[in-house]
């Protein structure tokens, strides 16, 4: 009993020393590793490049996730993406209006389109993002569970929405990509009278 314990203690000490040494040395990444990483990235970027340049009629979209479904919106309508912070709920508004946020001094209302699409609720966290849409007439934020990033999509790769999509979904949908990303029609969203009316009704209380 005595002998194995001592040996194991020696082993432990040796391992600890190794860890300590590794920590001392690995804080700064060796130049070779750094170089390898950078090279890899460079290669990755170099692959994407020709596609973009080749496809003139490409559409750049921002991909986002709503309840494990992937959606996209044309990036030309997106002012910016902002992490959901300091959401202030507004009383007396319809359920799809989550509330308002302060975006560098501007007050912007945030809506939850999951309510329109009858998608299951996931709860709101700091990880949620707000995609701020804007055109000449309208500006409001759409809640997204996650935003993987922006991507280029060829226009011919976009297919019309299937017949199974009805109602509101069908109304706002622009098309579906091969990667099964549902691209929303930002123009329709921005000019949706429901949203406006509701906004108006929300503002002019008692007209409805």
């Amino acid at each position: 009993m005595n002998n194995p314990s001592t040996t194991s203690w020696e082993d432990v000490r040796r391992r600890m020393d190794a860890v300590h040494a590794a920590l001392e040395h690995d804080v700064t990444i060796t130049p070779e590793t750094k170089k390898a990483i950078l090279k890899e990235r460079a290669l990755a970027l170099a692959k994407e490049r020709p596609k973009e340049q080749l496809a003139e009629a490409h559409l750049e979209i921002v991909e986002f996730v709503l309840a494990s479904e992937r959606y996209g919106i044309e990036s030309s309508f997106i002012r910016e993406i902002y992490p959901l912070r300091d959401l202030t709920p507004l009383p007396g508004t319809p359920p799809f209006v989550l509330g308002i946020i302060n975006l560098r001094g501007e007050i912007i209302s945030v809506i939850d389109i999951k309510k329109f699409f009858d998608l299951p609720e996931k709860g709101i966290t700091d990880l949620n993002k707000v995609i701020v849409l804007r055109n000449a007439e309208m500006e409001f934020g759409v809640l997204a569970d996650a935003v993987p990033g922006a991507r280029w999509i060829a226009r011919e790769a976009i297919q019309p929405p299937p017949a199974t999509f009805t109602g509101l979904r069908e109304e706002y949908l622009y098309g579906i990509t091969v990667e099964r990303i549902a691209i929303l029609d930002a123009v329709k969203l921005l000019s949706d009278p429901k949203l406006i009316i509701q906004e108006e009704t929300a503002i002019t209380k008692g007209s409805q």
Partner: protein
């Protein structure tokens, strides 16, 4: 004479003493009369005749003195001497006159003497006359011549005449006195004769009475006393002959005869009894017959005693036979005792050896107990040391647990940092997306910026992946630390249990040490006891030896007892024979 014998002894004695007393009285009276006569004659002799002779002598003397005084006066020269001598002469003259008067008074009965005295007085008076009237005055006047004449003449004549008369008278008186002494002697001789005569008569009478009394009282009494002496010596053969006297001596003789008779009868009875015949019947003479009563009682007692002795002899015979049986049994018992004693002696020897062995064992146990005590002490110390080590281990365990908890907390802070990094990556990602949007807005000019945004996005992705990995590692670390804390806790508990066990072991060792100490003491005591046991066994062995000797002596004694029992049996038979001689 017979009458005389029949008088009682008291009367006899009274008569004898009366006669003797009468004789004594006669003698005394005679003596008294004689003595009275003698005293009379002596008195007369002394008072008259001797006195007369003395007075005449005195007168003569006085006359001489007077003449001498007158002559001295004549010679005296001085007045004082003359006075002295005158006084002397007068005193002398007075004395003379006095004596003369006395003489006259005394001898009035004697006529012849009275005449003589008258004559003397006349002559004396004449002398005095002359002296007083002539001589003394002459002297006083100093006429010594005249005085001398007178004195040598008339006075001288007168003096001579006076002296002659006086001398004659004195001679007569002396003669009378001598006559009186002779008369008195004659009287006394008569008295002595009478006295002697009476005494002789009394003596003869006394002897007669003594002889009479001797023959009538003493002789018969001596006879009786001789018989009594014989009886006193046990001789009852002499008989006292009874006579017909009725005085005390006669009665004594009769009673004596009766007594000797009765004694003879008793002696006969005693002879019978001595011959062993106890069937005799004894009738006491009276209630006060001590001897008879005693004999009766004695015979009775002898009878009962003989009876009892017979019974006793029977008992004795039985007892003797029983004793001989018992001695036989005791002899058998003594033999058994001897065997038992021998066995016991062997056993004692064995026990002694056992005690020796046990003593050695006890000593060995004591020594080993002492060694064990030392070992227990060492064990106690080891336990204490191990307890200390356990406590140290406990505290170290505590510090290990704390270190692990600290580690866990630090990994938590790492997690926080990782979360911050993740957030940063997220933000970077957003920034990259925004940058891409902006680049798209910029059109052809923003293409390079889009590449940068893409690059930033990729970095953010990688950061996120790294943080996810770190998070996984942190989870593993958390699990490991949890396991370590649990293990440490278990170890601590194990150490606690070990401490408790060690404490118990210490207690056990202490108890063990105590019991070993007790065992050592007990072993020492056992050793001492075994030693004592050895000594005791030696004593027992000695005692057994003594018992052996005693049993030997017992056997000898039993043999003696057997002999004694045999003797007793013989004695019983002898006694039986002896008792059988008595006829009850």
């Amino acid at each position: 004479m017979k009458f005389m014998l029949n008088l009682s002894t008291r009367v006899k004695l009274a008569l004898a003493f009366g006669v003797m007393l009468a004789m004594l009285l006669a003698v005394a009276v005679t003596a008294y009369n004689g003595v009275a006569k003698i005293r009379e004659s002596q008195k007369r002799l002394f008072e008259q005749e001797f006195q007369n002779a003395l007075d005449f002598a005195h007168l003569l003397n006085n006359e001489n003195n007077g003449r001498a005084s007158v002559l001295t006066l004549l010679l005296a020269t001085n007045r004082s001497d003359q006075d002295y001598w005158l006084k002397d002469i007068h005193a002398n003259s007075r004395e003379t006159a006095e004596i003369l008067t006395n003489l006259k008074d005394r001898n009035q009965a004697n006529a012849a003497l009275t005449i003589e005295l008258q004559e003397l007085e006349t002559a004396k008076e004449a002398n005095r006359e002359t002296r007083e009237t002539q001589v003394i005055p002459a002297i006083k006047e100093g006429n010594t011549q005249r005085a001398q004449e007178l004195l040598a003449g008339i006075q001288q004549e007168r003096y001579v005449k006076l002296r002659d008369i006086l001398e004659r008278l004195e001679k007569d008186a002396r003669k009378n006195a001598f006559n009186m002494v002779t008369v008195s002697e004659t009287i006394s001789r008569d008295v002595v004769r009478t006295f002697v005569t009476f005494s002789l008569v009394a003596a003869v009478l006394g002897i007669f009475i003594v002889l009479l009394l001797n023959s009538s009282i003493a002789t018969p009494l001596r006879e009786v006393s001789d018989v009594a002496a014989n009886i006193a010596q046990g001789d009852l053969s002499i008989n006292v002959a009874a006579d017909e006297r009725r005085d005390e001596v006669g009665v004594l003789r009769q009673n004596f005869a009766r007594m000797s008779q009765s004694l003879r009868a008793t002696a006969n009875l005693a002879q019978q009894i001595s011959a062993g015949d106890l069937r005799v019947t004894i009738t006491p003479q009276s209630e006060k017959d001590v001897l008879g009563n005693a004999f009766a009682k004695m015979v009775e007692n002898l009878r009962s005693t003989t009876n009892e002795i017979t019974q006793g002899v029977n008992v004795l015979a039985t007892a003797a036979s029983q004793i001989s049986t018992s001695t036989a049994q005791v002899a058998a018992g003594a033999a058994e005792t001897a065997t038992a004693v021998t066995e016991t002696t062997t056993t004692v020897e064995e026990v002694k050896q056992t005690a020796q062995v046990s003593s050695q064992k006890a000593k060995f146990v004591s020594e080993s107990a002492q060694r064990t005590t030392q070992v227990a002490q060492a064990g106690k110390k080891s336990v204490e040391v191990s307890l200390e080590g356990m406590h140290r281990i406990q505290s170290q365990m505590q510090s290990i647990a704390e270190s692990i908890v600290k580690l866990s907390e630090q990994s938590q802070s790492i997690g926080e940092i990782v979360a911050v990094v993740n957030d940063l990556a997220e933000q970077s990602n957003l920034l990259a997306v925004n940058a891409a949007i902006e680049a798209a807005k910029a059109g052809e000019h923003g293409k390079g910026f889009g590449v940068v945004a893409q690059e930033i996005k990729s970095l953010a992705e990688q950061s996120k992946q790294a943080t996810a990995q770190i998070r996984g590692i942190l989870n593993d670390i958390q699990k490991a630390t949890s396991t370590a804390v649990m293990t440490t806790e278990q170890g601590s508990k194990a150490v606690e249990a070990g401490t408790k066990l060690a404490a118990e072991a210490g207690d056990s060792i202490r108890v063990l040490a105590d019991s070993i100490t007790e065992a050592a003491q007990a072993a020492t005591q056992i050793a001492a006891s075994s030693q004592q046991q050895l000594v005791g066994m030696d004593q027992v062995a000695m005692a057994m030896e003594n018992i052996k000797q005693a049993s030997h002596q017992n056997v000898a004694g039993i043999k003696q007892t057997e002999a004694a029992a045999h003797n007793l049996q013989e004695l019983g038979q002898r006694l039986k024979r002896l008792v059988d001689q008595y006829k009850i």
